[in-house]
């Protein structure tokens, strides 16, 4: 598209914002019932007695079973006929998707769902859903291709008009990459990702090998005894290339730290705190702080490290708070 065509297209596109999906509240085909709840819990592997054990639930604070809150939007789904006959012509979301597809944005990827729950649904309740197209992003380039994110916002109520919950559903509608790319052999998906390994060369292999044995070493100049980390082959104080090492006690203090949010990298566990740590021996080391609330990490925090196996391949010093 030329810039002018893109502008005209986007002007039309953003007109969809605010449109109703179903032209007003629509009622679920079936009222809340034990059979659908039981099937849903079976598929999800959820054995919570509050959903499926009437006897147990009778003695609970509610006095009866409830529908799993996360099941909220199952009640108002169109059902299998979407697959066979498609969504109704009037469906606002379907109209938006058709419009995008007409310009080549034929790929569709549900990216995330956020739900909030305010009240329980119980057997016999009718569920109503009222949805709008809440927002459409600017054009984005992602790993999937170029496209637009759109979000629907749904309110779920019961027969009394009580708000049970809300849901935001985000979809990325994109131009799929060329066929050749799509047909590239998929990964087996069997290997569990691990952390990115430090490459080992002549100047650092000894340090990582010791780490694999559960020890954190600090390089020491044999000539002037000055400690240094990260290791390097020559002492910056006396230019000696002779060195040995001592084992750190891993007593330390947070000198600075960050919390990694984006991008999330496979093989790492989040929330992820990385800190510059001042060790009791006087050198600093960069490592994770774990075993506490993210909000509790602060500069000056006293910590104690140990070498942990953090995944199948990786031994790493991890630092834990010291109870004060």
């Amino acid at each position: 598209m030329t810039p002018e065509e893109t502008k005209a297209f986007e002007d039309e596109l953003y007109n969809f914002v605010g449109n109703s999906v179903h032209g007003g509240p629509r009622k679920g085909h079936d009222d809340v019932n034990a059979a659908m709840i039981r099937q849903w819990c079976e598929i999800m592997g959820d054995a919570n007695p509050a959903y499926i054990d009437a006897e147990w639930a009778a003695k609970s604070t509610r006095g009866h079973t409830i529908a799993p809150p996360a099941m909220m939007y199952a009640w108002t789904q169109e059902g299998y006929k979407v697959a066979s006959v498609g969504r109704p012509e009037s469906d606002g979301q379907a109209r938006l998707v058709r419009f995008l597809a007409s310009k080549g944005f034929t790929g569709s990827l549900g990216t995330n769902v956020d739900q909030e729950y305010f009240a329980d649904a119980k057997i016999g309740d009718s569920i109503f859903e009222d949805s709008i197209i809440e927002s459409i992003s600017e054009q984005k380039t992602t790993g999937r291709g170029v496209g637009y994110f759109f979000e629907t916002f749904a309110k779920f109520t019961n027969q009394d008009g009580t708000l049970l919950g809300t849901q935001r559903f985000r979809v990325f509608q994109f131009i799929p990459p060329a066929q050749a790319e799509a047909e590239a052999p998929a990964d087996s998906g069997l290997e569990v990702p691990t952390r990115i390994q430090a490459p080992r060369g002549q100047d650092n292999k000894w340090w990582w090998d010791a780490c694999d044995e559960g020890k954190v070493l600090i390089q020491r100049c044999k000539s002037c005894q000055v400690l240094r980390h990260p290791p390097r082959p020559m002492c910056g104080e006396c230019q000696s290339t002779e060195w040995d090492s001592i084992e750190s006690t891993l007593d330390g203090e947070v000198f600075s730290f960050v919390e990694m949010h984006h991008p999330r990298v496979p093989g790492y566990q989040y929330p992820l705190i990385v800190a510059v740590i001042e060790l009791a021996e006087g050198t600093r080391i960069v490592a994770n702080v774990v075993g506490c609330d993210v909000a509790d990490v602060h500069i000056g925090m006293k910590i104690k490290g140990q070498v942990d196996q953090v995944d199948e391949k990786t031994m790493l010093p991890q630092f834990y708070p010291i109870a004060s």
């Binding site: 380039t141 170029v146 952390r195 990115i196 390994q197 430090a198 490459p199 080992r200 060369g201 100047d203 650092n204 980390h229 990260p230 910056g236 000198f255 600075s256 730290f257 960050v258 919390e259 990694m260 949010h261 984006h262 991008p263 990298v265 790492y268 992820l272 990385v274 510059v276 050198t283 600093r284 960069v286 490592a287 994770n288 500069i299 990786t314 790493l316």
Partner: protein, 391 residues
């Protein structure tokens, strides 16, 4: 014999390509377009050029561009390392070449498909066993592997020592967006944001939100430098390089200098600033506007201190008092910077600094602008240049 390069060389032509998220063309093409247009802006012919300089990071060979643009014999070519730390290093190289007669007309360039090609935000990881790979290996296993994460580490420490830092970070991000909103060449032209948007913007690496981080751009920028003498006969009023310095301070690591006594500081830029001021005979009071490298908002604060506009820990207050605004003490990043115009590794900043001296910035301050500071990226070995009107 010592040569003082001050006033010996001048910027006479500048150009940017269009800034996009998907250029659809090669980096060679972007570079060739920027170089061609900068030569034309100078009123010179490609055959006048006999020197070229760029970043070690640039993927395009000088001789490929020379052939594409129709540049003839080259007697000077060089590359400057350390990512965005190279930006004014190009000027440094060109000025030395011109002042010593190694070349007469040098083009500095940088072009990248920074969004549709390799993205810097994707971080560092790879199988090559180089000293650089071993260096990153001290950080990647812990998860510290993106530019935002490295600079955030300094920033957390700075927030521990100084007050009002987050407010000043917002002021920088917001002010630069306001400049970009009025700059048709900027990616964020006519797209403002407010404090609520900033506060709600996605966390990248605490304490950075998305709006504290520069963007990723496809585009190119180029600058032509020749002797002050020859500059007098060319199309635009000459913009001379009055001072230029670069430095890698002691105990430096690329982006991860976490082992100095205090890490909330950028000693490399302190040294470069001292060199540039000494060469030029200028003082901070003589500087009328600035283009300060802004990969992330807080690095602007630290550089203001390096160049003597305020104390390091008082920089947030200096900024919050409106110093960087159009009517402030030091209008800064008037193109929108790399946060809001485009991320061309600081070379679009040299273009903007040149325009400020010429008086042709899209957001030209309403005052006489004689001298303008332009800087390179920090956290790496870095530098800066003082540009001014020909005396």
């Amino acid at each position: 014999m010592t040569i003082n390069v001050s006033g010996e060389a001048a910027i006479v032509g500048v150009a940017n390509t269009e800034f996009t998220k998907a250029s659809g063309v090669s980096e060679l093409e972007l570079a060739s377009v920027a170089v061609r247009d900068a030569i034309a802006d100078a009123g010179l012919k490609p055959s006048d050029v006999d020197g070229m300089t760029t970043f070690t990071l640039d993927n395009t060979d000088e001789i490929e561009i020379a052939r594409a643009v129709g540049i003839g014999d080259l007697t000077f070519y060089s590359r400057v390392p350390h990512g965005g730390g190279a930006a004014t290093g190009l000027v440094h190289q060109a000025v030395m070449a011109v002042a010593t007669g190694m070349a007469e007309v040098v083009v500095c360039y940088r072009a990248l498909n920074g969004r549709s090609g390799h993205r810097y935000s994707s971080g560092v990881a790879g199988p090559l066993l180089t000293s650089d790979a071993i260096h990153w290996g001290w950080y990647t296993p812990s998860g510290l592997m993106t530019p935002a994460s490295w600079v955030a580490m300094y920033t957390q420490r700075y927030m521990h020592l100084a007050e009002n830092v987050q407010d000043a970070m917002f002021e920088i991000a917001h002010l630069q967006r306001e400049y970009a909103v009025k700059n048709p060449a900027a990616f964020f032209y006519e797209r403002p944001f407010d404090r609520a948007d900033y506060d709600a913007s996605r966390p990248i690496v605490s304490p950075f939100k998305m709006l504290d981080c520069c963007m990723e751009t496809d585009g190119g920028s180029a600058v032509v430098i020749t002797t002050a003498e020859r500059a007098k006969d060319l199309k635009h009023p000459a913009v001379v390089v009055k001072g230029v310095g670069q430095a890698a301070a002691a105990n430096m690591e690329s982006m991860t200098s976490f082992y100095r006594p205090e890490i909330a500081a950028i000693p490399s830029m302190d040294i470069a600033a001292k060199m540039a001021y000494e060469q030029s005979g200028l003082t901070p009071d003589d500087i009328d506007a600035a283009v300060i490298y802004d990969a992330f908002t807080p690095i602007v604060l630290w550089q203001l201190a390096s160049w003597g506009f305020c104390d390091l820990l008082d920089a947030p207050n200096f900024v919050l008092d409106g110093a960087l605004r159009p009517d402030g003490r030091l209008p800064t990043n008037t193109h929108g910077g790399q946060l809001s115009e485009a991320y061309i590794h600081g070379v679009n900043g040299i273009v903007e600094a040149t325009k400020l001296v010429r008086g042709t910035s899209v957001n030209q301050p309403n005052k006489t602008v004689n001298n303008v500071l332009v800087t390179s990226g920090v956290g790496v070995p870095t530098g800066g240049a003082l540009l001014g009107k020909l005396d």
